[in-house]
């Protein structure tokens, strides 16, 4: 089947098998390997991307289901700049608050938070933890992830600070 999608503002037209997962399409067809795959059944949230602005698990969608839609991956957040000079404010807050260790779950965490913070610009800690409940992190214990979100919202970086 022929698939036409816009990913991070770039239009792609590809022939794909109907069974190809959106996560595999992004990673292996388009080379956007910032979207990570942790469980392939919608539990860990590492593969989260935006489809028309909403957070979606790309391992639970076929690529062909994205036909005609606008996608955004973690590579699109910083406008393609990997130098660290042009980080999205959320990325900058994660770096500042040590909101990542191995960093494997981080792209999915960021892409979950982008629409959440758009709709909840001043969340309290309970709301932040609820928003993150679909993203598993095995390194951090979530403390500094929550602190990073608070920092991104202009709150003190940590409740303990």
């Amino acid at each position: 089947m022929t698939l036409v999608v816009t990913v991070n503002g770039v239009r792609h037209e590809r022939a794909v098998e109907p069974r190809l997962l959106l996560s595999d399409f992004l990673r292996h067809e388009l080379g956007l390997t910032g979207t990570h795959v942790g469980c392939e059944h919608g539990v860990c949230g590492a593969c989260t991307v935006l489809v028309d602005g909403e957070a979606v698990r790309s391992c639970l969608m076929f690529a062909v289901q994205a036909d005609g839609h606008e996608l955004e991956t973690v590579e699109g957040l910083s406008g393609g700049d990997a130098s660290g000079d042009a980080l999205h404010p959320l990325q900058a807050a994660f770096r500042e608050a040590h909101g990542l260790q191995c960093g494997f779950c981080t792209p999915g965490v960021l892409m979950t938070l982008v629409p959440f913070l758009r709709d909840h610009p001043d969340p309290d800690e309970r709301e932040i933890r609820e928003a993150l409940s679909g993203n598993l992190c095995r390194c951090t214990g979530y403390q500094n992830i929550v602190a990073a979100v608070r920092l991104a919202c202009g709150a003190p970086p940590s409740p303990r600070a």
Binding site: L20, T35, G38, T73, L77, S78, A82, L87, Q91, F104
Partner: protein, 396 residues
């Protein structure tokens, strides 16, 4: 209190900006599954559905005929390369030690010893085709009684996981300090407790992955591996594959959580993917899926402790005795390392003059190894037995 004047310069307590974070945050960090190689082939493994079974036949002919399949390997196809993996840590010199290690095999040959044990390896033009071909392989296996519970594994007549051993006892090690019998005789009270520690999976969010590229003209092998120890893996692979260490490069790029199971295991997949890349002259990659991770990546901590604490009336611990069982799983390439950690950290920071720690390892059900090296169970045995002092009229 004001911080000492040198604190600002020491870095201690200061927030340090990590060099790698910009790459991780922008999706540009390289993990093993991100490696792009020309003509890359993909691997899927057929795995045991049985905890214990006699493997009578594996027919891969239909799988080999499927379009897109490049090769299918069973134990019989490995020839001289089929051999049990290395014993990674030899046992320490403990008097009276019984030690019967059994290391994992690359593909099961006659016996299936745990759910998830690899039986056949499919190499294909895509992972989707490789997984399709798994359904084409016909396996005949006669299920055998399995040993699932730690204590049942040592019962007389228990099904044996390894036929060549007289029982499921993997090792028996006793370590002593001082005189426990005397400490017990002098004690005001002896507190006895039983502690169960369930086995757990580390479950890093990144599953394991291995990619290998063989350059036949330079005669150099490059391996990308989700390992915590690339140097030992390089040295071991060179030995297994008959290469010089200088012909092998093992790259551990960004690793998405290690937690122990990604250390230097020489997992079947880890030794088979480079072998297949050399044999086929093509780059080969395997990435574990989450279900495989639950069945084929090592686990740890299954232990049962029977602990005794000999105490005086004023709360001094005169001695500790701890007899414990440790679940090695079907294979134990790390030998005694994990239960020895439990033994040796039993006393912790306390001034305890007499100890007797015995570990009887057993229950070869599924492989089981590592995470935090089983120090935590020993600490908890010690610290959770101690509150029992209060009930014995001793000082808090």
């Amino acid at each position: 209190m004001a911080p000492p004047p040198h604190r600002a310069r020491s870095g201690i307590g200061e927030r340090v900006r990590r060099n790698e974070d910009a790459r991780l945050l922008t999706g540009r960090a390289l993990f093993v599954d991100d490696v792009r190689l020309d003509g890359l082939l993909h691997v899927a493994f057929l795995r045991s559905q049985h905890a214990h079974a006699r493997l009578t036949s594996v027919d891969a002919s239909a799988a080999r005929g499927r379009p897109g399949v490049v090769a299918v390997y069973t134990a019989a196809d490995l020839g001289d390369y089929w051999r049990p993996g290395p014993l990674l840590v030899p046992p320490p010199p403990i008097a009276g030690l019984v030690f019967n290690p059994c290391t994992q095999v690359p593909l099961a040959k006659d016996t299936l010893r745990h759910v998830g044990e690899a039986i056949a390896m499919v190499v294909a033009e895509s992972r989707y085709v490789a997984e399709d071909a798994l359904d084409d392989i016909v396996v005949e296996a006669d299920p055998l009684p399995a040993v699932v519970h730690l204590e049942a594994a040592l019962a007389p007549g228990a099904p044996r996981v390894h036929d060549h051993l007289p029982s499921n006892l993997a090792a028996h090690a006793v370590q002593r300090k001082g005189d426990w019998t005397r400490a017990k005789a002098r004690a005001h009270a002896v507190i006895k407790r039983r502690f169960h520690y369930d086995r757990g999976a580390s479950a890093a969010i990144e599953n394991r992955a291995v990619a290998a590229q063989w350059d036949p003209r330079a005669e150099e092998l490059t391996v990308w591996d989700t390992t915590q120890a690339p140097i030992p893996i390089r040295n071991g692979l060179a030995q297994l594959l008959g290469l010089l260490e200088s012909q092998v490069r093992v790259i551990a790029p960004f690793v998405g959580g290690g937690f122990g199971p990604k250390i230097m295991m020489f997992y079947p997949e880890e030794v088979l993917v480079p072998w297949a890349a050399m044999r086929l002259g093509r780059s080969v990659k395997w990435t574990e899926d989450r279900q495989e991770n639950f069945f084929a990546t090592t686990q740890e901590r299954g232990q049962i402790h029977d602990a005794e604490l000999a105490v005086t009336k004023d709360g001094k611990i005169l001695g500790v005795k701890d007899v414990f069982l440790h679940d090695t799983g079907a294979y134990d390439p790390y030998g005694l390392t994990v239960p020895i950690n439990s033994q040796c950290t039993l006393l912790g920071p306390y001034d305890i003059r007499a100890t007797r720690a015995s570990s009887l390892r057993s229950s070869r059900t599924r492989r089981s190894l590592r995470r935090c090296g089983a120090r935590a169970p020993a600490r908890r045995v010690r610290d959770r037995a101690a509150p029992g002092l209060r009930g014995q009229g001793a000082r808090d």
